[in-house]
């Protein structure tokens, strides 16, 4: 008998968004993608993709599968996949990732360590 996993209401996709007017004083741990538009005075850890929007500030680093930086990140970031720093993005900290893409206009102050995913 085959049981295909059914989507129940509990597993409906909810995009986690920290909106612009919000400040999180503490750490965020997520098993899903995060979009950050506000401020996080703490560390962000996700198994998914973390997007730091232009209005966002993350103060204590990010660990995730993929990281897209369009705002300001202070602290080290670490990704099992790719890190993108967009034109308006700023990273003040080290970056360890499987790959990195830095767009023109991006600010990156730190060390990049690109290693193959294990």
């Amino acid at each position: 008998m085959e049981n295909s996993p059914e989507r129940t209401e509990k597993t409906r996709p909810i995009r986690t968004v920290i909106s612009r007017g919000i400040v999180v004083e503490g750490d965020i741990e997520a098993g899903e993608d995060l979009r950050i538009e506000g401020a996080v005075k703490g560390h962000v850890h996700s198994t998914g993709e973390v997007t730091v929007e232009p209005s966002a500030v993350v103060e204590n680093g990010i660990v995730a599968h993929r990281i897209l930086i369009r705002g300001k990140v202070t602290g080290d970031v670490e990704a099992t996949g790719r890190v993108d720093i967009d034109g308006g993005g700023r990273l003040h900290g080290n970056c360890t990732s499987a790959s990195i893409r830095i767009s023109e206009g991006a600010i990156f102050e730190g060390r990049s360590n690109v290693r193959k995913p294990s």
């Binding site: 989507r7 409906r12 996709p13 007017g21």
Partner: protein, 138 residues
């Protein structure tokens, strides 16, 4: 709005794009710390800390708050252990599990809600004056 219709995933329609002032915390997310600021918060995840915002706070069925909640209006369908203060109405749905002191001008509780804590329903915010009188005294 964008009119893309994707039929690849026949899942429940994704929640409508959050408005600028809406914060959503998914069920797999835990915030170890406080959330504050303006806008609304919709919580399916866990906050181990306080949630004090200017707008509306909604704790969904899967949501948990271990700390205080403060907002303009609050709806709880999940768990709260701590305290709850609202300048406007509070609604506890049938799945609410609240161990907290509640302060609000208006409270509605659906059948099935579990509440353990002092409830203080005061129509308007005013300093402790002598009881009685419908006038908004100073």
């Amino acid at each position: 709005m964008l009119g893309f219709i994707r039929k690849k995933n026949v899942s429940a329609p994704a929640a409508p794009a959050a408005s600028i002032d809406e914060t959503r915390i998914g069920s797999s997310v835990t915030v170890n710390g406080d959330i504050s600021g303006r806008g609304d918060v919709i919580l399916d995840g866990t906050i181990k800390g306080n949630c004090r915002v200017a707008g509306r706070v909604t704790v969904e069925r899967d949501g948990t708050v271990n700390g205080s909640i403060s907002g303009k209006s609050v709806e709880i369908g999940g768990r709260l252990a701590g305290s709850l203060e609202a300048s406007g109405p509070v609604v506890l749905t049938g799945s609410a599990r609240v161990e907290a002191e509640i302060r609000t001008p208006s409270l509605a509780m659906a059948e099935g809600a579990l509440v353990n804590g002092r409830v203080d329903i005061t129509p308007s915010q005013r300093p402790m004056a002598s009881a009685g009188g419908g006038k908004a005294g100073r």
